[in-house]
Symmetry: D2
Subunit: 320 residues, 4 copies
């Protein structure tokens, strides 16, 4: 069973359903709320973990129309929905201290979600020390860092974050990162929140570089937004669509294609990707604009989850 | 005969050669110079124009290794090569006035070549009026504009540029734009210079929106760098590579694929692209960095072609 | 009477009042609305024009608390206030066509207001031609351009805009530009709207480079936000404050300072500014963040003034 | 003795000389090399430390003409000069491991030197682990981080860096930061390198938040470029210049001003600065462009100092 090229548990689940695989140990609950569609996937057994390619834990996706990403009532309602779902996975006390980590490379737009979110957070840890009078009741101690990526720092993210956690001693860590998805419709239109942290290698050992409770010693919640699709997924989609295009010129090809099941086709394509494609990504043309908007949504989702009784005006004040 | 998804004449030529098509009326001359590979394609007949999908004219590509894009001697030599090839297509007099137009959307990184080049030009038209004493012998009157894209301005680029040309009366126009290529190896590693201007619809009428001698009344030289590949090209590459992957699981598919010729396959794929892919592009991960570097190369190629006896230190002075 | 270093009519008025100058031909009306303070200054006579250093016309300033600049109800109300005041100076018909011009250099943050506003406008002129079905009733034909600055284009802004106006034939032009103010409290916290266009040299001839009804042939409304203070203003403020600091060490200096009136002092300082200061500006530290926010406010003020029955969600849709 | 508003030791020295103060325990050596002017200031006694307002140590400034900041031979020579001076303060072994820390807020242009330099470094620590074959002889293990500022992270920089140093165990730390200077001529035209690290409070205790050998346990070299001047300095310059402007209108003021010595005047102004000015800075208009260029110079100075036998082409390869 090999790695699915999606970071979304809900898509991994859909793919297994499409392939009509027998699957136990996974529960999915769906709900519409505040203009958004929410799916809560729970992976409960080791067997399900292997099948899904994701570690045991809870995964929540909030899907929303693109128009809800900017100003206006729909946007504000959506921020609150993200905050509620995030709160449901965090178990915060009144005095909990939280470290938010923004992963990714700020110079590669589709990878810049983490650093962009960090810049929009209501960060308060220093205010508790130096200016407690500007804090209102219900606010928690929040600190944040965007540590940069291995290629630019020469250090594993996990080394840096463990160093910071040793000094700061937070009660929980929230890790924000850009994700890959299978479906174009979900790009920049979905937030996934999960309680498993981030484990490169998807639950298959290699604890050394994970950012999770095992490596950091405190609960780690991951928040992500899909911003890229990989070249194989795109190719498979084009091929799938083409195989239904019953033109004469391609009759035997269409026939051959319809004989293979979707997963086998994708595996075969993946094993055949030309090496020179590895440095390329597939993103929406207007990814800069989308990232600006979706990072504001994620940041405000976190702001409302960590601080109580905050208004949008308060956020403007604390982030200026 | 349908549109090839490459803006490079040299690739259009390669594709026809691969397809073993008979082709007359096109000459190709190749040369290695200053670390770069230069190909000069000349389209000479209407029939060749139709086959190549590009208007009659001269097309020069300068290909170079990525490492030559930054500082150092190789970079400086490359700037001079681009300047020489550009000069060969411009027929400038000592007093010629030139307008440089940077096309594209500066907020979509792979489309931002034009605006980025404009910012690095040695612009002098106003100095001729206000501060002629700072100009040295051999400098020409250069002005520049990045007019923005239809979606952001609501105006056809050609409307704006004709308005500007009416006021400024240049002797020649240089148009800079990002291009699409077929080959990953050419992305950000090739400059194409041609004397046909830019004609949406590739030589097939629709003069109204072209930026060429026909619409602007003066010679129009286009300078471009490929920065994107389209999803179909990527899919076709993956499929082509897969079809050579003779795994058992995909035997009949591989067989069917090898029966179709490359062009037929690509056409079939193109006709089958799912609509939702239309807003997506395929680019190098580090497209921001590449664009910064390649736009400096193009700008300095233009600077050296338009102004004589300029040093890199002079450019630094005039562009600060 | 020499140029005041403020672009705000309300500050020019305040300075004359402070200097206890007799002033006729200027009316000022003040109002509080939607959390903002509105001042409407009307310069009515040539004598007042000379005293104020601004051409005859109507000048409206909307002042607001910084916290209202981001999301939330206060921000949305403020956008509507700006739209209403702007509408009061525009006399639009149902079918009026409007060109919005964003002045300034996008690479110098405090000067980038114009280009940043342009990017956030609901631009529709091309939709009227190509996709009228996506337009709703009450929307007008809007086009927009950020022409760049003389130093980067080599062309007078007025040349470029006249070229564009010749092709596009708008019924009105809105010009957006960053301004200088005298008071730190007004920086990024005030929008000025006036019906005089932009006239370098402040009403004192030199029609050639103005962007006003005289040069463009249609009504020109200017919208601006102060983002910089000049070095003399800062120096005068420090000196004024120092002169009230009656320390022994500076007794005779304080005495000498209090003998001079404010205007004489400022004139004397202005005549004495060291030349090397001319390339320097004084701005808020967080000018990048402030510009992002205030340009959104101005853009939405324009959006609501030009298009009727638009919601924030609509704006998100049309600007993505 | 109060804090001078310059971070440059050479300016602190100049101010003491101007004030004709007796000064021992400071040596200054000057040299012209590769188009640059080099001054080496050595503060040797506690008394000199107090007078200079800077801790005991060595301070090197490299001053250069602005035109040397871009491409070309002068630029390349300048990079080597910075590298040589930096090497003279570092005592590196063949196997030394170095951590480079980029201080400052990347969203406030004049404060972004540190983060911008980090992005242009040849970082290798991860390559020693994962791809030693791409490293050539003479390269050292370099890692880098831009930790962000207190207001955005909620953490003292020193906390974060100590956490990282604990994990990474470098043999030396280089800290890069933007500085304030007194002279407009030095802005973006000077690099200061010193072996004292960075100590807020200038040698006056408060070891807790310093980034120096005391707090980090390894040698700390600071590299800085002045990018801002403070409002008082500007005001004092304008006032000084005005006091020499012997106009009748300001006769008694000029007389009073010439009675005060420069330092007393500046002190008096500093004590009188209006509070609302504290959020404002004075920078060159084209600070964005200047920062891009000067950060490349500093980065390459560090690259050449840390890695031997590197060419500009190598740097392009390792930083792409």
């Amino acid at each position: 069973m090999q790695l699915k090229r999606t970071d979304l548990a809900i898509e991994a689940h859909e793919m297994l359903m499409e392939a009509a695989q027998e699957l136990s140990g996974v529960s999915v609950q769906q709900e519409d709320k505040g203009g958004a569609h929410i799916a809560r996937v729970s992976i409960e057994t080791l067997r399900a973990q292997t099948q899904m390619g994701k570690p045991i834990g809870r995964y929540i996706t909030v899907e929303f129309p693109e128009a809800d990403l900017s100003e206006g009532d729909a946007y504000e309602a959506l921020c609150k929905v993200v905050a509620e779902e995030l709160s449901s996975l965090l178990s915060l006390q009144k005095n909990s201290k939280i470290l938010v980590v923004g992963l990714g490379n700020r110079n590669i737009t589709p990878d810049a979600l983490g650093p962009k979110v960090i810049e929009k957070l209501v960060v308060t840890r220093h205010l508790f020390s130096y200016m407690p009078e500007v804090l209102s009741d219900g606010m928690r101690s929040v600190c944040a860092i965007a540590p940069g990526v291995l290629g630019l720092t020469g250090m594993e993210t996990e080394e840096v974050i463990r160093g910071v956690v040793d000094k700061v001693r937070p009660d929980a860590v929230i890790v924000v990162d850009a994700l890959a998805a299978r479906s174009t419709a979900r790009i920049s239109a979905t937030v996934q929140i999960c309680d498993t942290g981030i484990s490169p290698g998807a639950g298959v050992g290699n604890k050394r570089k994970a950012l999770d409770k095992g490596s950091l010693g405190v609960p780690v919640i991951a928040v992500g937004v899909p911003t890229v699709i990989d070249a194989v997924t795109i190719s498979a989609d084009v091929l799938e669509s083409a195989s239904k295009n019953g033109e004469d010129t391609a009759e035997s090809l269409s026939a051959a294609l319809s004989e293979m099941d979707a997963e086998a086709k994708q595996d075969w394509l993946r094993r055949s990707v030309p090496g020179e494609l590895s440095g390329f990504i597939v993103t929406p043309k207007d990814v800069d604009l989308l990232l600006d908007r979706v990072s504001k949504l994620v940041a405000n989702g976190i702001n409302f989850a960590l601080h109580q009784n905050l208004s949008f005006e308060d956020i403007a004040l604390y982030t200026s």
